[in-house]
């Protein structure tokens, strides 16, 4: 086992023992079961829409809560409590501390989202709809957006406390979603004179990844709280599914935010 793997494993142990995370994982699984049960009360395509709507709401709202909770305390609390000092004084470098803290959170977030997705896919099987490929793709797309929010909060946590870092991470997610929605509106000619500003925002800011499944549900106004219909001046904005360029852009932003985490801890005093 490498030094970094040891640090990641130790962090995963600590995280998995936090009560709020255990409660969050269990609550997500319970809500996934509820989504399946609600879908079971419908038939045909309505049943499929119902399950996907419930799944999308759980993945976005539950996942975002988890991501912000994990990211907002990624670096600040361990720097203050003496945990980072213990590891740094014992031989770990600061980049290793950041890598351990961030990688363990990425792994945990992915594992929790995967656990929820497994329950949802099992529900789809039980309801006779087979494995839901579009939902699996949507799960991956949501996970990328959650990573943006978590890593933004983690980067902020090297400087500020958990509450401020969580608010920052949430704000970055809102900006990422707004960049996608506004670009779609601009492409439809609904923005007018702010076109240039919107395009600059789109090509500079992080973006969320819109899956084909949620784009279809949103177009039919069936997406629920995960993707309510977007309107500008009473005109419906049709948000298309993201292309691979947006996927690549989002991953690049994740890498950038990870580097910002390392930069933030580079000179921070450790207890």
């Amino acid at each position: 086992m490498t030094r970094l793997a040891g640090l990641v494993l130790a962090q995963l142990r600590r995280l998995s023992r936090r009560h709020w995370i255990q409660v969050g994982v269990a609550a997500g699984i319970a809500l996934a079961v509820v989504a399946v049960a609600v879908a079971a009360t419908h038939e045909g395509s309505v049943r499929e829409d119902s399950l996907r709507r419930g799944a999308a709401a759980l993945l976005l709202l539950g996942g975002l809560s988890l991501a912000l909770g994990l990211g907002s305390a990624a670096l600040n609390l361990d720097a203050q409590s003496g945990h980072f000092g213990m590891l740094r004084g014992g031989g770990a470098s600061r980049p290793e501390l950041v890598a351990g803290a961030v990688a363990s959170r990425v792994a945990l977030l992915a594992a929790v989202v995967a656990a929820w997705a497994v329950v949802l896919q099992a529900g789809s099987l039980v309801l006779g709809m087979g494995l839901d490929g579009p939902l699996a793709v949507h799960t991956l797309a949501v996970l990328l957006g959650l990573l943006i929010a978590m890593l933004a909060a983690a980067a902020a946590s090297s400087i500020v406390g958990p509450v401020a870092a969580g608010i920052f991470g949430g704000a970055i997610y809102v900006v990422a979603q707004a960049a996608v929605n506004l670009k779609a509106a601009a492409d439809q000619g609904l923005i007018g004179t702010a076109d240039v500003g919107v395009r600059i925002l789109y090509y500079v800011a992080p973006r969320t990844v819109t899956s084909p499944m949620i784009a279809d549900l949103q177009l039919r106004n069936e997406a629920g709280p995960a993707a309510p219909r977007v309107e500008i001046n009473d005109n419906t904005v049709i948000v298309p599914a993201a292309g691979w360029d947006t996927v690549g852009w989002t991953i690049a932003w994740c890498v950038l935010l990870g580097l910002l985490c390392a930069a933030g801890l580079r000179r921070r005093p450790l207890n």
Partner: protein, 206 residues
């Protein structure tokens, strides 16, 4: 910059935290050779912990400081320093054994040393306890185990309790050629065990 065989060499070291109006430590010079011990004493807030943190690279320092022949924070010395922090929350969320194993994994030749360190610190029987279950003495013993696991070349202890195990490990470390640096507000019997003493008053060595 380090003289041959010097474990710690610091000259005119200043430690100042971000935004602090006054440095926590200023103008401190010290040398520590293999097998030597040094007790840094002083009242609460005198700069003992800040000096240790500066020498370990936990906070930035000014002035010249080298540990094990390399500038503070240099990878060359990484893993050859054992650090037992003060406080009780430094290993929160871990079991006692996991905390010591995590540090052992960072030291060359440290793998397999976990059980030995737990036994020497008197923690074998609570190895699978969560660290939150430890009382104040247990936390000090855990800090000792973290500092000695893998038998590093420099043992740094912040606010240790004067236990027979502590005194024995200080003597053992010095006997095998390691240097020992200890900060303590109430040194008790640590002074004779370490041999040399430095007192800090308002961040300045007296």
């Amino acid at each position: 910059m380090s003289g041959s065989g010097t474990v710690v060499e610091a000259e005119d070291v200043e430690v100042r935290y971000h935004g602090g109006p006054e440095p926590a430590v200023r103008g401190v010079s010290l040398t520590l050779a293999p097998g030597e011990g040094l007790l840094v004493s002083g009242s609460a807030g005198s700069g003992k912990t800040s000096l240790l943190r500066g020498l370990l690279g936990l906070v930035e320092h000014r002035g010249r400081a080298a540990v094990l022949g390399a500038p503070v924070g240099d990878p060359a010395a990484r893993g050859r320093i054992g650090y037992g922090p003060q406080g009780e929350r430094f290993a929160s969320g871990l079991r006692v054994r996991e905390a010591v194993a995590a540090l052992a994994a960072l030291r060359p030749g440290g793998r397999g040393a976990t059980d030995d360190a737990l036994a020497r610190a008197g923690l074998s029987y609570v190895g699978y306890w969560r660290t939150s279950r430890l009382d104040a003495e247990g936390s000090r013993r855990l800090s000792l185990a973290l500092a000695i696991v893998g038998d590093p070349d420099l043992v740094v202890l912040d606010d240790p309790w004067v236990l027979s195990d502590t005194l024995r490990e200080i003597a053992a470390a010095r006997a095998r050629g390691a240097a020992v640096l200890v900060a303590a507000q109430r040194p008790g019997g640590l002074g004779p065990a370490l041999g040399r003493r430095m007192t800090l008053v308002d961040g300045v060595a007296r």
